[in-house]
């Protein structure tokens, strides 16, 4: 009986919708990590789907609650998966990628990544990350794997803590496509000022978390040269 039930539910859509409608961080945080890892592999769909709450009944319930009662603190799903992933986890789609670009612009010392970051700064600001993901490349690049998986998870956990402590309300409003990542939580809470300050702090933290990867990338040329020399010696 149980097995057949599991089988019946085993499809991407059903997995995605159970995570995006979930209020349980123990489920949504690992799912975000997995989806982020898949996006590092080049599979964008899972993380985009997880964050797409347009058809989510739970997100609608949250929004309706806030619209009807005018109170933002007692929504039925305070840590709703879909909202947390899209709004804090990846900050509107590519807020975390934007953090990486900013880190490269500040701390990067190699010409090529810097040029790619510069060229992609404007698309990234308006939530279009593909050029950067492929141009750098981020996809399948082991240097950025850890950060790409870790940063959304950290964002979500910190945001959940902030919501728990009533520092920021649960984001419930829909945000226009292309809204700059760091502004997404602000707009999704109908312009809640503590949320803006909190998000700026979170974004700066993301940039800082990206530094080790950038530093590692700065050294790749030297590391590669060493490796090749080592290789040559064996030959």
């Amino acid at each position: 009986m149980v097995i057949s039930k599991v089988k019946a539910n085993f499809s991407l859509t059903s997995i995605v919708s159970s995570v995006e409608n979930s209020n349980n961080l123990l489920l949504t945080v690992p799912a975000t990590a997995l989806a982020s890892f898949l996006s590092w592999l080049g599979l964008e769909v899972p993380i985009l789907d997880l964050g797409n709450v347009a058809g989510s009944a739970a997100a609608t319930a949250n929004l309706t609650y806030v619209l009807r009662r005018g109170s933002v603190w007692k929504v039925p799903y305070p840590y709703l998966g879909g909202s947390m992933i899209s709004i804090y986890g990846v900050m509107g789609g590519c807020g975390t990628i934007l953090a990486l670009a900013v880190a490269i612009l500040i701390w990067g010392r190699r010409k090529e990544p810097e040029t790619v970051a510069k060229m992609n700064l404007w698309p990234l600001l308006f939530s279009s990350s593909r050029g950067f993901l492929i141009g750098l490349p981020v996809i399948l690049n082991p240097i950025y794997a850890l950060q790409l998986v870790l940063v959304p998870v950290v964002n979500m956990l910190i945001a959940a803590l902030a919501i728990f402590l009533h520092i920021v309300p649960t984001p419930v409003y829909t945000v226009l496509t292309g809204t700059p990542g760091p502004l997404v939580p602000f707009f999704a809470t109908n312009g809640n000022w503590p949320t803006l300050i909190f998000t700026i702090f979170l974004f700066c933290l993301d940039v800082v978390m990206m530094i080790p990867a950038v530093k590692l990338d700065n050294r790749t040329k030297i590391l590669l040269k060493d490796y090749e020399m080592e290789d040559d010696r064996h030959v």
Binding site: R68, V102, I106, R109, K118, L121, L183, F187, G191
Partner: protein, 291 residues
């Protein structure tokens, strides 16, 4: 390490974001306020569209009959729309009235499919304005004769623009000739073919009543019964429920249908909210049963 060029770029980006966020902020505040107002609104108007050759005053008598013997008098707002899309309002909408009647009539009220398409476009202009002004989240539609056809066309081609925020609960058509004057469904008019073609766009949660008049066994004097009946090919198994009723007896002719006593009763029973005595208990919670 801190190259000045990149810092400049970052500062410029930051400035532009802040500049763009200012209009974005006011837009967001305004939109969210409107959403909230619409969500909280208790208003559920009945919007009526008259048939061909009729004006916004077509339903005056019907409204008088509907307002007889009820403690709540529904207010009546009439909107006439000219060919260039200008709206002329008459009548009024009382603030405390949660179920007002809105009649939308057309300056160009001629018959014919091409004109029905145009009228549906005008209906949409008027609907847009009314929905923006009065901020209701659900409504009921009523159409006499061609009015029902205009509603059907509007539902198939325009309603999706609103369906996120505004729900149509019920559509009642009265003597609407879905197959014009054709007596047999074997001969489908262009309009009928189009209605069937786009039927999938009709809202799934809508309740539809199609009323026909029976002056004799075949028609209400103008519209053949089989043409009204052809509505089943559009609505049946597409909307939540589709019910056909035939009214006979005195005043069952096509033009007198809106003044027919049975029609008035049917509208009261099926289209309007059941009137309850005012009390503290039943003011809330009666709204969102049908989500």
């Amino acid at each position: 390490m801190f190259k000045s060029r990149n810092w400049k770029l970052i500062v410029v980006a930051l400035t532009i974001i802040i500049l763009l966020a200012v209009p974005g902020y006011s837009w967001m505040k305004k939109t969210n306020k409107e959403h909230a107002e619409r969500q909280r609104s208790q208003l559920s108007p009945l919007i009526m569209v008259p048939g061909s050759s009729a004006t916004v005053n077509r339903f005056n008598e019907l409204v008088d009959l509907l307002n007889e013997n009820t403690p709540y008098k529904h207010s009546l707002l009439k909107v006439e729309i000219s060919e260039d899309g200008t709206l002329t309002y008459s009548g009024s909408m009382k603030k405390e009235d949660n179920e007002p009647f809105i009649v939308i009539g057309f300056q160009n009220n001629h018959d014919g499919y091409s004109n029905i398409k145009k009228q549906a476009g005008w209906l949409d202009d008027a609907f847009y304005e009314i929905a923006k002004t009065y901020k209701f989240n659900n409504f009921k539609a009523f159409g006499h004769s061609n009015g029902g056809l205009i509603w059907t066309y509007w539902l198939e081609h325009y309603y999706s623009d609103y369906s996120d925020e505004i729900t149509i609960k019920c559509l009642m058509t009265l003597g609407s000739p879905y197959n014009f004057s054709e007596k047999s469904i074997k001969y489908k008019t262009q309009m009928m073919t189009d209605f069937i073609k786009y039927r999938k766009r009709l809202p799934k949660n809508m309740i539809v009543y199609s009323l026909s008049g029976g002056e004799n066994y075949e028609s209400d004097g103008i519209v053949p019964e089989s043409s009204v009946e052809a509505g089943k090919y559009i609505f049946q198994n597409q909307v939540k429920s589709y019910t056909m009723m035939t009214v006979t007896g005195a005043e069952a002719g096509h033009s007198s249908l809106p003044q027919n006593k049975q029609v008035v009763e049917i509208i009261q029973d099926y289209l309007l909210k059941q009137q309850v005595k005012p009390g503290p208990n039943n003011s809330q919670n009666s709204k969102h049963k049908e989500n």
